[in-house]
């Protein structure tokens, strides 16, 4: 569990999530060629969006201090 916490607090992991989100929401995964599949695209985008928000929630939990005296994160 501690390893997961450390992973989620690393700036490199935040960059990874950023890149992953960028790919998920970018061309060619979000394709416009087939407008008949607009419903599938709608579902895909909101599911991915929810996943990204959930990852951000996990990152947030790691960064939020559990007690007032606990440091939130290591410096750069």
């Amino acid at each position: 569990m501690k390893r997961i916490r450390v992973l989620f607090s690393r700036h490199e992991f935040h960059v990874l999530v950023f890149c992953l989100s960028l790919v998920l929401f970018s061309w060619p995964l979000v394709s416009s060629s087939d407008f008949d599949r607009i419903n599938a695209m709608f579902v895909y985008l909101f599911v991915c969006w929810t996943v990204v928000v959930f990852l951000q929630f996990l990152i947030s939990r790691v960064l939020t201090p559990r007690s007032p005296s606990q440091p939130t994160d290591e410096s750069e």
């Binding site: 935040h14 960059v15 950023f18 989100s21 929401f25 960064l63 939020t64 994160d73 410096s75 750069e76």
Partner: protein
């Protein structure tokens, strides 16, 4: 339809409730219990990003372009993932440098440049005005929709609502936003109002979405199924007309990723208004979740409206229109209030931040350049009020003039593209040390020019202000300068090419300028501060820390003089060098303020080791080691450190009180220790002197004993021979007898001197025994032969307590003193004759406190004061044949009794000697 007066009343009541809430928050904040210092409020206030454009325009965009509305919110969601790295750094820099706006931030980073600040303000101002206009448009249009029958003329209130809303916005913003000049530029009341508005608009939009999706249709699945099977062919055709769909998607994504940070209002809410960087983690997920929720019904509402037969071109009003046309008046009112919340929140925040920029980066520099405007410096608050009113009025005027010419979403994207111009300068400023003022000026100028030429000018053309052929023919008829196909780029659309070219020119010139031109020393320090803001905390990020402007030679001379007050020159020089070595400053000519503080600490530490902490501290405080200017610089450094600690004022006061109390206790302790050390030193000196004296006396005693022994033998022989001659010489003539007697007397005198020498140099021999002093004294006095003509009177106090004394040695004291008294009265008698003078000696005892006094008073010749003060010194005498040891022996014996002896005398009046012995109970 709803009654326009009722809607206006509800709107005013809603604004009134917000106003009261904001005032309550302001009051609580002044008491130090700010409800805004809360991550939930912070996260909600960030949703000011979702303006009326989101509220109404997203549905319109969904109807006309499918899912192309989504990247406006997906972009921020992606960018927010990096907030712990980027936003936290911005917030920390804001705290250190007291940043008040995005223009202030850019100006502060690039050598506090007025030009950079003014240029950033210009971009923000031009980029924000259409956006404010858009909000007014939303409020006025939706009010007309909700209060007017379709096709019927708008009501009187609807026609005159604009000035009412403008007035409300001005009053609200002035009272809650710029009531006073606050150096932190935080507005807790306003932020709480914005947070409440954001909550209301979310609830209202969700309510409309739920109604459309679940009451007008059978849920998401039903709408999606009908879209697949029944969507009108012309809609699909309209969507497919957008040949650069994927480019536009990516353009929106990039623009919105930048807008969430660099729109002036977003920068203000997320950076300037941030109370605590610990609020950022909550915002990291709560704000994206908010955007997810507020968008989840956008597509169903848009499709629902189209499926119900409404035109996609009217889709901007679907959120309000669908419930209204379904007869849901209260829901429509709620939706209207939600939309008004979205619009008013944006107007207030934007007008505050833009007016701050105008006064700080336009007006204040102008006041410096134009002497006639200098009087405005004392009226800065009034200038700020005027700026707020002006911004809101210009926004309203813009809406009246060009608002009808463009769809809402297009105006929004023009503002996004303007904010995008800040991205290279800000991101470069916080991550690239070499980024400099020249680069920022070149990049911002180029980006602004591209944006103005490719986005704003076409908007003017479409509003009919400039000839339409300008778009087709380009500047001066040069087709490659056509604003919407700049340099012949045709395939990516107007907005995308704005982003494309401005990204190339803005970023390219920023990098090129930074590489071509050199940073000044101050800019290097600022770059270090900004880039390293998260590295070691704010304490070490201040430029003053590294600025070596203090002449070390001057300080070394002061330190040398300081040490010279206590030590020899050579030693003082050595200690000065030691301090410089310890502070690692030996090889330096100039030092920074922090290095001077370290040197000060070393000097104090070294000096404290010699003269005590308190004295060292005082001496350094009195020295000129810190000039007034340097002390102020050091205070600034400490102030930065304290600001970086982010403690509440109460916490800080408690900590300072604690340390002050601790310092006071330490100083008191040091002072007490100093006194004790002085006392101990004095005791040790006395003890040392006594020891030396004893050693000397011991040696002298041994010598005396040997010499006395060697002298007594010949003296005995001489004495015996003189006695033999006196007895056996038959014919003694008078002259021989006289010489023999003289030999005998001199031998006796020699014996007396030897006795006194032996007595004085012997070790302590008194053996103290408790006894009655009066009885003992009577016996001693009775044994003394009193010379004729001298009267000795006794006055012994009755019932004296027993006291410890050695009868034999103390007898010697009494005899010595009384013999001195005999000699004194005889000397006076010889001097004055036996006429009226009556030689008198008084011997007395008395009890005072815890001591018994034995007094011997005579009315003899007395002593001069200079003689009286030396009377107890060994070998001091005024008599020609005296040994000078009599009173010294008295003092020695009294000391062995742990008593005291004192003498007072007046010439020709007499002398009093008092021996005091302690009564031990």
């Amino acid at each position: 339809m709803l009654d326009s007066f009722s809607v206006l009343i509800v709107f005013c009541l809603y604004m009134g409730v917000l106003f009261l809430t904001a005032l309550w928050v302001e009051q609580r904040s002044e008491e130090g219990k700010s409800p805004v210092d809360n991550s939930l409020v912070y996260s909600l206030s960030l949703a000011v990003y979702c303006t009326a454009w989101t509220y109404y325009g997203s549905v319109g965009k969904a109807a006309t372009s499918g899912l192309l509305f989504l990247p406006i919110y997906l972009g921020p969601t992606i960018a927010i993932t990096l907030w712990w790295i980027v936003l936290r750094k911005l917030v920390r820099i804001k705290t250190i440098h007291h940043i008040t706006s995005i223009a202030d931030f850019i100006s502060a980073r690039y050598d506090k440049s007025l030009a950079v600040g003014a240029l950033a303000t210009l971009i923000a101002l031009i980029g924000t005005m259409p956006y404010i206009a858009l909000q007014f448009k939303a409020i006025l249009t939706t009010f007309a929709i909700i209060t007017s029958e379709k096709g019927a003329p708008p009501s009187w209130i609807s026609l005159h609502l604009g000035p009412v809303v403008v007035g409300l916005m001005v009053v609200f913003t002035l009272v809650l936003g710029v009531r006073r000049l606050d150096p932190t530029e935080r507005h807790p009341g306003l932020i709480m109002a914005v947070a409440v508005e954001c909550l209301v608009k979310l609830v209202a939009f969700l309510a409309a979405g739920v109604f459309v999706t679940y009451f007008m249709f059978d849920g998401f699945a039903d709408i999606l199924r009908q879209v697949s099977s029944n969507l009108p062919a012309q809609i699909m055709t309209m969507w497919k007309e957008d040949q650069v769909w994927s480019v536009t998607w990516m353009t929106y994504l990039v623009l919105s990723m930048s807008a969430i940070m660099f729109l002036p209002r977003q920068f203000h809410v997320s950076v300037v208004e941030n109370f605590n960087e610990k609020h950022i983690p909550t915002a990291l997920w709560l704000f994206p979740a908010y955007m997810l929720l507020i968008n989840i019904f956008v597509f169903p509402i848009a499709m629902g409206g189209i499926l119900k037969g409404y035109s996609p071109l009217e889709a901007d009003t679907f959120v309000l229109g669908l419930p209204l046309h379904a007869g849901q008046q209260w829901l429509s009112l709620l939706v209207f209030i939600g939309g008004a919340s979205a619009a008013t929140g944006m107007i207030m925040i934007s007008s505050i931040t833009v007016s701050t920029m105008i006064t700080n980066h336009f007006l204040l520099p102008l006041m410096g350049w134009i002497p006639g405007l200098a009087f405005l410096r004392r009226r800065l608050l009034h200038c700020r009020w005027a700026a707020v009113a002006l911004v809101i009025l210009i926004g309203y005027w813009f809406e009246r003039e060009v608002g009808e010419s463009y769809m809402l979403v297009n105006i929004g994207m023009i503002s996004f593209a303007a904010a995008f111009q800040f991205a290279p300068a800000i991101l470069g400023g916080i991550f690239w040390r070499r980024g400099n003022k020249a680069g920022a000026l070149m990049g911002l100028s180029a980006g602004f020019a591209i944006w103005f030429y490719t986005s704003l000018l076409p908007a003017f053309v479409r509003s009919g202000w400039i000839a339409y052929n300008f778009l087709d023919e380009g500047l001066w008829g040069l087709t490659f300068l056509r604003p919407e196909q700049l340099f012949g780029v045709l395939a990516i659309g107007s907005l995308s090419q704005t982003v494309f070219w401005s990204l190339i020119f803005n970023t390219g010139l920023y990098v090129l300028g930074s590489l071509l031109f050199k940073q000044s020393a101050s800019e290097e320090n600022l770059a270090e501060d900004f880039v390293g803001a998260l590295t070691t905390g704010p304490a070490l990020s201040r430029s003053l820390h590294r600025e070596s402007y203090i002449d070390l030679a001057v300080k070394a001379k002061i330190i040398l003089e300081l040490f010279g007050q206590f030590f020899a020159e050579e030693e003082a020089r050595s200690m000065t060098q030691k301090c410089l070595r310890e502070a690692r400053l030996e090889a330096k000519d100039r030092i920074s303020i922090v290095e001077l503080a370290q040197l000060h600490s070393e000097v104090e530490r070294l000096l404290a080791g010699s003269v005590g902490a308190a004295t060292a501290h005082r001496m350094l405080a009195q020295s000129d080691l810190f000039t007034e200017h340097e002390a102020r610089d050091l205070s600034e450094v400490y102030a930065e450190i304290l600001a970086g600690l982010k403690v509440t004022p109460d916490d800080l006061k408690r900590r300072i009180d604690y340390h002050q109390e601790r310092e006071a206790l330490l100083a008191q302790h040091a002072s007490e220790l100093e006194v004790k050390v002085r006392e101990r030193t004095r005791d040790l000196e006395v003890a040392q002197e006594e020891l030396i004296k004893r050693e000397r006396l011991s040696v002298l005693g041994q010598l005396t004993a040997v010499v006395s022994h060697e002298l007594r033998n010949p003296l005995g022989v001489i004495s015996f021979s003189a006695y033999y001659l006196t007895r056996n010489v038959k014919e003694q003539d008078e002259k021989v007898r006289k010489h023999l007697n003289r030999i005998g007397e001199q031998v006796g005198h020699c014996d007396l001197i030897i006795d006194e020498l032996l007595e004085y140099t012997r070790g302590p021999q008194s053996s103290l025994v408790r006894g009655e002093i009066n009885h003992w004294l009577e016996r001693v006095l009775d044994q003394i032969t009193i010379p004729q003509g001298i009267s000795v009177k006794r006055k012994l106090a009755a019932e004296l307590p027993p006291v410890k004394f050695d009868g034999e040695t103390l007898r010697r004291v009494v005899i010595n003193l009384i013999e001195n008294a005999f000699q004194a009265v005889q000397a006076r008698s010889a001097k004055e004759g036996s006429g009226s003078y009556r030689p008198l000696i008084r011997v007395s005892t008395s009890m005072e406190g815890s001591a018994i006094h034995i007094g011997l008073e005579d009315n003899g010749i007395g002593m001069a004061p200079e003689h009286a003060s030396r009377a107890f010194e060994p070998l001091f005498t005024t008599r020609p044949r005296g040994t000078g040891l009599g009173l010294a022996v008295v003092k020695k014996i009294v000391n062995e009794h742990r008593g005291q002896v004192s003498l007072s005398s007046r010439p020709n009046h007499g002398t009093t000697v008092t021996v005091s012995l302690k009564v031990e109970r």
